[in-house]
């Protein structure tokens, strides 16, 4: 089935099986392997992408359903090769990850939160990321990263990107 998707700002015309999920399409057809598959039933959140800026599980959506929406994956947050976005840099500053498997989903979820609420409280951060499961970190350093990114955006510290 013919479908036209907008992925990270670029239009992509593809031929996919109607039953192909968005996450399989991103990974297997488009080679965007930063979006990860954890459970394929919407429970773990590892496949989270942004659909018109809103976090959504790419395993619960067919690729053909994504037509007409702007899809953002983790690859879409990195604009220059080798240079991290301020949010990604904050995740590195607090070591907000270990194995890195849930990290793209966490960062995209945080990206959406900060776009809507530049100064979230701890409780708001916790609520926002509670749909993405991390098995490594216990979440504290993730919450700290998001708070740090918000703080830096309000008052950029010298020397940070």
């Amino acid at each position: 089935m013919r479908v036209e998707l907008t992925i990270n700002g670029a239009a992509r015309a593809l031929d996919v099986e109607p039953r192909m999920t968005l996450v399989d399409c991103l990974r297997d057809v488009l080679g965007l392997t930063g979006t990860h598959v954890g459970c394929e039933h919407g429970a773990c959140g590892a496949c989270t992408v942004l659909v018109d800026g809103v976090p959504a599980r790419a395993c619960l959506m067919f690729a053909v359903q994504a037509e007409g929406y702007a899809i953002t994956t983790i690859e879409g947050l990195t604009h220059t090769r080798g240079a991290l976005s301020p949010l990604q840099d904050a995740f590195c500053a607090t070591h907000a990850m270990q194995c890195g498997f849930c990290t793209p989903a966490m960062i995209l979820t945080a990206h959406a939160l900060l776009a809507e609420n530049p100064a979230p409280t701890r409780a708001q951060i916790v609520a926002a990321i509670s749909g993405v499961i991390c098995r490594c970190t216990g979440y504290a350093q993730i919450v700290e990263a998001i708070a740090l990114a918000a703080e830096r955006a309000r008052a950029p510290a010298p020397g940070t990107r």
Binding site: E17, E40, Q98, C99, T103, C136
Partner: protein, 805 residues
């Protein structure tokens, strides 16, 4: 040359691996796509036990895109059985069931097709005729008179039954004024990383090598796969550079690698198997321990415990993989941080029709710590004493280290009293008790949880020869090679895979520290298994100790080479030749010096300037033996299990909603001592992550079965993992007692948090329920069960639900 030397070790430097992960540029096994790659789907047994009568593959094979369909007989004809951990040669297992399946979810048929979707379609077309057999799920039923035998050839469901008598238990019991006995259950949970297990295999007949990319942390994976497939020992190459999406001990996947390796050779095409979550949970063979503890302790009027009897029955599931050895690992810390003089430990491994286990974070120590800490709480309750005070009275004191416990293991170092004092002061223990009582006065159920536990680290694999006389392993190596190239660049090697532990940062930090150069300038390489130095892998909380130790030693050897070259060229006596930040100089005349590039140039290009007979180039390797290891267990089971013993003390306050049974954490303090911390951000993250896993094991996670023996928890919707809402803010107080056995005084941290959290949470819930006269003697303590328990207790007490307790 007296500038302050950079620290690197113990400073909160960034973790170099994070950059690629934050950018979504990790390279996980599912990201590896080879040209012409085929995909595997599996047909799993829907019964808890069944004879496989017939398999009809025709319809599956007829589907376009299907490449082959194989069953257990095909595989068994070409491969050795998978290894047992225990000495049970008649318990035989292959990746696909042969003749009979012994648990619901066991793989029966593998289908290979051009896409995973086609393979799944074809798997549905495979018709298997099963003859269901009697099955048993409960360990005690399985060893009772009527339990059906899971492996008739073995003749019994008991895979291991071994008693260890350490010290004079009978005498110590006879002499004690008091004794108390209790029974606890540790429910079956699992490591359950967010990345399932996956493996890609590709066979190159021209080079005679089977290449494997796997999300594996398994020691000696390549050698095992080669042996089972009947290939030459270096005929399998494991690529250690694959990023592993979480491991926690359970990412082994030997059966997956054998199956996919066999298929890749059969078809001549690359083959990939990435478990879906259902396959992972029911057939991935990576469940954690499931234990029943019967504990009895003997103690005096002041609460000092003289002796302990502990029987641990583990339901290991349908096959006896290496995970069953986890019944032996806790022998190395069987008395926890306490001075208990004698111990009777009775370990029983039982096979049932459940999914097999894999080794898991802490190797059985978390359940054992739960039992030990409950014993302390029971003693305090019996005597009406404060639970912290009873612990303090039993602790091994700082001046008693090194301290050899009854089971023969020597603890390297510790200052348990100091750690506890730190926590009590920070938490203001009297005020915490007052707060609990205030919450109780408000009608809430409130409790304080306490756990003082050990986290062994260093991994000796001594539990192998201890429980299986056929094993004689007395080393568990780790290696590092450090090279300075002709342009002066430094590269260090890692010879195992990593699953988020930050090993690249660990090695770079340590090499930077020893050579006094910027760790960010140290390149890290991961040779594949054929090119690798010996490695037993990232298990057993051992990499800071062993990989860090190997890196330190290799870097020190290189530093000594640089100094030797400098001494020769400058013509200064060795004791007058100094090294700082890559410069070698005459300590009496610092202007006489050779800078880094000079030394590199001489070593790589100017052989005539080197000391006579000196090895040119700058390379050093070290293969590290586990400190304090090397000896087989004695006949009575005394053994040095691990070299290093980290300590953690948890103090927490929680409430349980009296109507809903929902626990809520109010305050949580942890005192943690894992010796010198190489990277504080990594250790903090691991500890908090371990606590989160402990919260799961204590409150949410249990793999259960229905009456037909089918998994009732086969998705992450049924099996709840802690989310950000479930993990409270936790304050960690650091204490450093250096290990005398390691390069920088570091100890293990891989299981930190997880080893104490379940015990502490259990103690807190039981303290909260105490006013009701109730107790919970099992984990997990699910909200639903707590709610029911409270309702029953209040009904007995005549209180109305919802009213003040």
């Amino acid at each position: 040359m007296d500038a302050p030397r950079p620290r690197y070790v113990a400073s909160p430097r960034r973790v170099r691996e994070d950059r690629r992960f934050a950018a979504g540029q990790g390279r996980f096994v599912a990201d590896i796509a080879l040209p012409g790659m085929r995909h595997v789907a599996l047909v799993a047994c829907p019964h808890a036990a069944a004879r496989i009568v017939a398999i009809d593959k025709a319809a599956a094979l007829a589907l376009p895109g299907v490449r082959c369909v194989i069953d257990g007989h095909d595989l068994a004809a070409a491969t050795q059985p998978l290894p047992n951990g225990l000495d049970t040669p008649r318990v035989r297992r292959w990746p696909l069931a042969v003749g009979a399946a012994r648990y619901c979810g066991e793989w029966v048929v593998a289908v290979v097709a051009d896409t995973r979707a086609i393979a799944e379609d074809a798997a549905e077309l495979v018709a298997v005729d099963y003859d269901p057999l009697a099955f048993v799920l409960d360990a005690e039923e399985a060893i009772g008179p009527r339990g059906p035998i899971v492996h008739p050839a073995h003749g019994s469901n008991v895979l291991l039954d071994r008693r260890f008598a350490f010290g004079n238990v009978d005498r110590d019991f006879a002499r004690s004024t008091h004794r108390t006995a209790f029974r606890l259950r540790w429910g079956r949970s699992a490591a359950l990383p967010i990345e399932t297990f996956g493996v890609v295999a590709s066979h190159d007949p021209w080079r005679g090598v089977l290449d494997l990319w796997a999300s594996a942390q398994a020691p000696r994976h390549a050698e095992e796969v080669a042996r089972i497939l009947g290939l030459p020992s270096l005929g399998v190459r494991v690529h250690n550079s694959v990023d592993v999406g979480g491991g926690f001990g359970g990412k082994r996947g030997l059966k997956h690698a054998v199956l996919v390796g066999y298929l890749a050779r059969l078809l001549g095409d690359p083959v990939r198997l990435v478990e879906d979550r259902l396959e992972n949970m029911r057939g991935g063979d990576a469940h954690g321990p499931e234990r029943i503890f019967d504990v009895e302790v003997a103690f005096d009027d002041s609460g000092v415990i003289a002796a302990m009897k502990m029987r641990a029955i583990d339901n290991v599931g349908a096959y006896a993989g290496p995970a069953a050895l986890q019944l032996g690992a806790p022998i190395g810390a069987i008395v926890g941080p306490y001075r208990i003089a004698s111990v009777l430990y009775h370990a029983i491994a039982v096979t049932t029709n459940k999914t097999p286990q894999e080794s898991m974070r802490g190797a059985g120590q978390a359940p054992t710590n739960y039992a030990i800490e409950r014993a302390i709480d029971e003693v305090a309750a019996r005597l009406g004493l404060d639970r912290v005070g009873v612990r303090q009275r039993n602790l091994i004191a700082a001046e008693e280290f090194p301290h050899t416990i009854a089971s023969g293991t020597t603890y390297d170092s510790g200052d348990y009293h100091a750690v506890i004092e730190k926590v009590l002061a920070r938490a203001n223990y009297p005020r915490l008790i007052a707060e609990r009582d205030q919450l109780r006065a408000q009608g809430l159920l409130a409790g304080i949880g306490i756990a003082a536990v050990l986290a062994p680290g260093g991994g000796n694999f001594a539990h192998g020869p201890l429980l299986n006389p056929a094993m004689t392993t007395t080393t568990f190596m780790e290696s590092c090679r450090v090279v300075i190239d002709a342009a002066g660049g430094v590269v260090a090697t890692i010879h195992a895979g990593s699953a988020g532990q930050g090993h690249e940062t660990l090695v770079a930090t340590i090499v930077g520290k020893v050579l006094e150069i910027d760790p960010d300038a140290v390149q890290i390489a991961r040779p594949d298994s054929i090119a690798a130095l010996p490695s037993d892998g990232a298990v057993g909380s051992r990499m800071a100790i062993m990989l860090g130790g190997a890196a330190a030693q290799a870097a020190r050897m290189l530093r000594a080479k640089l100094v030797a070259i400098g001494a020769h060229v400058l013509d200064t006596p060795p004791e007058r030749t100094a090294y700082q930040s890559g410069v070698v100089y005459d300590a009496k005349a610092p202007q006489r010096r050779l800078i880094w590039q000079d030394l590199v140039q001489i070593a790589h290009r100017n052989y005539f300037r080197l000391p006579p007979g000196f090895e040119p180039g700058l390379a050093a390797s070290h293969v590290m033996q586990v400190p304090a290891g090397g000896k087989l267990p004695t006949g009575d089971g005394r053994v040095q299990m691990d070299p290093c013993f980290s300590f953690e003390f948890h103090l927490l306050l929680l409430t349980v909603d009296p109507d809903l049974g929902r626990p809520e954490f109010r305050q949580w303090f942890v005192g943690h001592d894992c010796g010198t911390v190489i990277n504080p951000m990594i250790v903090r993250g691991m500890t908090l992550g371990g606590i989160a896993q402990g919260i799961g094991a204590a409150l949410f996670e249990e793999l259960t079965h229905d009456a037909q023996g089918r998994p009732a928890t086969a998705s992450l919707a049924d099996y709840v993992l802690p989310s950000a809402r479930d993990v409270p803010q936790i304050e960690i107080l650091r204490h450093v007692t250096r290990s005398p056995l390691t390069a920088f005084g570091q100890k293990g941290a891989g299981a930190s948090g997880y080893l104490g959290a379940p015990a502490a949470i259990s103690g807190a819930v039981n303290d909260a329920l105490r006013p009701l006269g109730s107790a919970v003697n099992r984990l997990p303590m699910k909200m639903s069960a707590l709610g029911d328990l409270i309702a029953v207790a209040r009904e007995k007490a005549g209180a109305k639900p919802g009213g003040a307790a």
